[in-house]
């Protein structure tokens, strides 16, 4: 590309600066505020309290405090939900991809009508508000005595996530030339061998992108995990929600803020680590929506 004209370049850069600020500012503000007390960060008098930390100084003797983090991690043992979340998200991502790759591959390589209808049905399934689904699970799960355990929740999340996974992976496999595996079939491979030898080596970018979205779904889920897990299996987001308090009881919002900041750190690392794959994965897949 030749160099941009100056006017366009200025405009582009101005837009970029504006957007990046808009994207990062609320988070930066939250990180800053997580070291204040609630009366400062959520001040009713003026947002200037959050900058100067007037009430923080009054209450703790310094302009910054670790009370939020202490409350979340030590008093409320936030590491327990963190471990549960790790188990849930990693399992959900892994199982979703395992099941989804096989299904997505089949959908992409079949040209029968029912393949289309399966895709459409999957889409319709996705439209159901999850709260309604979860309310319906409760009684059967209690009767079967499988309520409250991590594996149940993992399978439910995999199932709820399956329509999106199937769609994305199906689009991705469409972009891998058919000739590739078809020639393997001609050479005498079975379908599964063709899949294993030919497709698996070239599918990683698409799988990683889809995996990221599955990961985010498991990580950020509230509707399913809050209703299907018992206390000792609780994951991060319901725990954070419980910090916010309920109608008749005061919560501790600063614990929630500190917990959110800590919860975002691993995501940073994850995104930085997989950034290149995500982009190249989408490059290869999903183009044929």
């Amino acid at each position: 590309m030749p160099r941009q004209p100056l006017a366009l370049k200025t405009l582009t850069n101005a837009f970029l600066v504006f957007w990046l600020l808009a994207a990062v500012f609320p988070f930066a503000w939250t990180v800053w505020g997580s070291f204040k007390v609630e009366a400062d960060f959520f001040s009713r008098q003026s947002w200037w309290y959050a900058i100067e930390g007037i009430r923080t100084t009054q209450q703790t003797g310094g302009a910054f405090t670790l009370d939020g983090y202490r409350g979340a991690w030590i008093l409320n043992e936030f590491w327990k939900p963190v471990i549960n979340t790790l188990i849930v998200t990693i399992s959900v991502t892994f199982i979703s991809l395992l099941v989804g790759t096989l299904g997505g591959y089949a959908l992409a390589r079949s040209n029968r009508r029912y393949a289309f209808w399966i895709l459409i049905a999957a889409l319709v399934f996705r439209a159901m508000p999850p709260i309604t689904l979860v309310s319906g699970y409760l009684l059967p799960f209690f009767q079967l005595n499988i309520w409250g355990f991590l594996p149940t929740t993992i399978i439910v999340l995999v199932a709820i996530n399956q329509p999106f996974t199937l769609w994305m992976l199906h689009s991705f496999f469409l972009s891998i030339p058919k000739d590739l595996d078809e020639s393997a079939l001609v050479d005498g491979c079975t379908r599964f061998q063709a899949f294993r030898m030919v497709i698996i080596p070239v599918m990683w970018p698409g799988v990683i992108t889809t995996g990221l979205f599955s990961f985010l779904l498991g990580y950020n889920d509230f509707a399913v995990t809050s209703m299907l897990l018992r206390q000792e299996n609780q994951t991060m987001i319901p725990k954070i929600a419980s910090f916010l308090g309920s109608i008749q009881s005061e919560g501790n919002v600063m614990y929630a803020v500190a917990a959110v900041v800590s919860a975002t750190v691993p995501l940073f690392v994850l995104v930085l680590f997989f950034q290149r794959q995500i982009v190249s994965g989408l490059t290869a897949g999903a183009v044929k929506g």
């Binding site: 959520f42 209450q59 209690f142 409250g148 809050s226 206390q231 419980s242 109608i247 008749q248």
Partner: protein, 418 residues
């Protein structure tokens, strides 16, 4: 054999957990005999967590005690107790959340257990329905008046005892330039807004329903009076009042921008907490009974209790053990050790400064939140039906009509109306 071992191991694990939770407190002798399992489901706030961890002291080599404190308890309890055996042996409930359990017949009468193990309970702790004890209450709550002593003094006013006074006082405070928006209420459409209406309507002494039926009866001069008062108060509120819920009220109170408001007793402690509250405001915060309305004689606020009930679909041994563990959990000793956590209804409780308002409500004869089987449906109908009215977008007649239409539709679905 393996099963027994696993059980013993589980019991051991839990008793260790109980030791840790109780801050090293010795295992208590709760008098439970034989093997049993106690499983508690409760809402998630400090007082209930305290009760849960005290119950956990009853764990022994043969008795396991587990608990699940979650904000989703209302959604979980019915399916959890429907299963046989029930997932939980104890469900912590309040006036409103006991109703679905009663409607579905999922909790057992406790009379024999009270007779056997309930020596430390007071008669007024027993929730009796049709003569049978269905739950044991251990703490009370309710919305009552918070007032600013300094502002009232500067305006030359006494603590208001009726909503008519509240409105007149707000006018004076505003006129004297002491405060721009002297009033606040939890008017956010949803559960909060509906609770405001229920409080005031209870103060009129009128019935919500035609006695003996599910027919709605709020469409009368009392309903109109309540709505008119609610609307009149919004004139003295911050224009953001539609976004205020109970938690938010405490924040604006702490910021010193409100002089009079009706707020939960369970949040009173936080408003005067020397560690976190704004010292200038906290020093001048007073609590009193909720105001009366329209010449009524009782505080216009619902009284709430929190208590426990025992599941029906469990063995009698588990039920007895659960009852004993809970009686231990709400024992006078526990209350003596933690007097400031809640307004306890237990013998030997000496109320602290934060409990003044709830007790004043109770002594002045405020009504309990109704336990009618269809009250929850009305609450939900109010939560959306009053939104336009409180925002000033429709009149009171239309609002009551909307609430009735919405309630009738859901009462028909639930089989209460034909």
């Amino acid at each position: 054999m393996t099963i027994k071992l696993t059980r013993a191991f589980a019991a051991g694990a839990v008793s260790v957990a109980a030791l840790l939770a109780g801050g090293g407190a010795a295992l208590a002798d709760c008098g439970i005999q034989g093997a049993a399992s106690v499983r508690i489901l409760s809402n998630d706030f400090e007082a209930l967590r305290l009760v849960n961890s005290t119950a956990a002291e009853c764990a022994s080599a043969t008795v396991t005690v587990t608990s699940n404190a979650t904000a989703e308890h209302k959604n979980i309890q019915v399916p959890a107790l429907t299963a046989n055996p029930a997932e939980y042996t104890v469900a912590m409930v309040a006036n409103n959340s006991i109703v679905p359990l009663l409607n579905a017949g999922l909790i057992r009468p406790l009379d024999d257990l009270v007779a056997k193990y309930g020596a430390s309970l007071q008669p007024n702790q027993l929730i009796k329905i049709d003569g049978k004890v269905m739950a044991i209450a251990f703490m009370g709550n309710g919305q009552h008046l918070f007032y600013r002593k300094d502002i009232l003094a500067a305006a030359g006013l006494d603590v208001p005892t009726s909503y008519e006074d509240v409105l007149a006082d707000a006018q004076i405070i505003q006129d004297k330039g002491l405060m721009q928006y002297p009033l606040a209420a939890s008017d956010k459409p949803g559960w909060d807004l509906a609770a405001e209406f229920v409080n005031m309507y209870l103060g009129t002494g009128a019935d919500f329903f035609v006695p003996g039926s599910a027919e709605l009866a709020i469409d009368n001069e009392n309903g109109m009076k309540v709505l008119a008062t609610m609307r009149a108060m919004t004139k003295f509120m911050n224009p953001d009042y539609l976004t205020y819920d109970a938690n938010e009220l405490n924040k604006v109170w702490d910021a010193g921008s409100v002089a009079l408001m009706n707020q939960w007793g369970s949040l009173a402690g936080a408003a005067i907490d020397p560690k976190t509250a704004n010292p200038d405001v906290a020093a001048n915060t007073g609590f009193a009974a909720a105001p009366t309305i329209g010449g009524g004689t009782i505080p216009a606020a619902a009284l709430w209790w929190d208590g426990f009930s025992i599941a029906k679909n469990i063995s009698d041994e588990d039920a007895a053990a659960s009852f004993q563990a809970m009686v231990h959990a709400i024992s006078p000793d526990m209350v003596k050790a933690h007097p400031d956590v809640a307004t306890w209804l237990v013998a030997g409780y000496s109320p602290g400064p934060a409990a003044v308002g709830v007790i004043a409500n109770a002594t002045e004869g405020a009504q309990a939140y109704p336990m009618q089987p269809y009250m929850g449906l009305l609450h939900t109908a109010l939560s959306t039906g009053l939104a336009d009215f409180i925002a000033g977008k429709e009149d009171a007649e239309q609002a009551l009509k909307d609430v009735k239409a919405s309630y009738d539709a859901s009462a028909k679905e639930a089989g209460f109306l034909n």
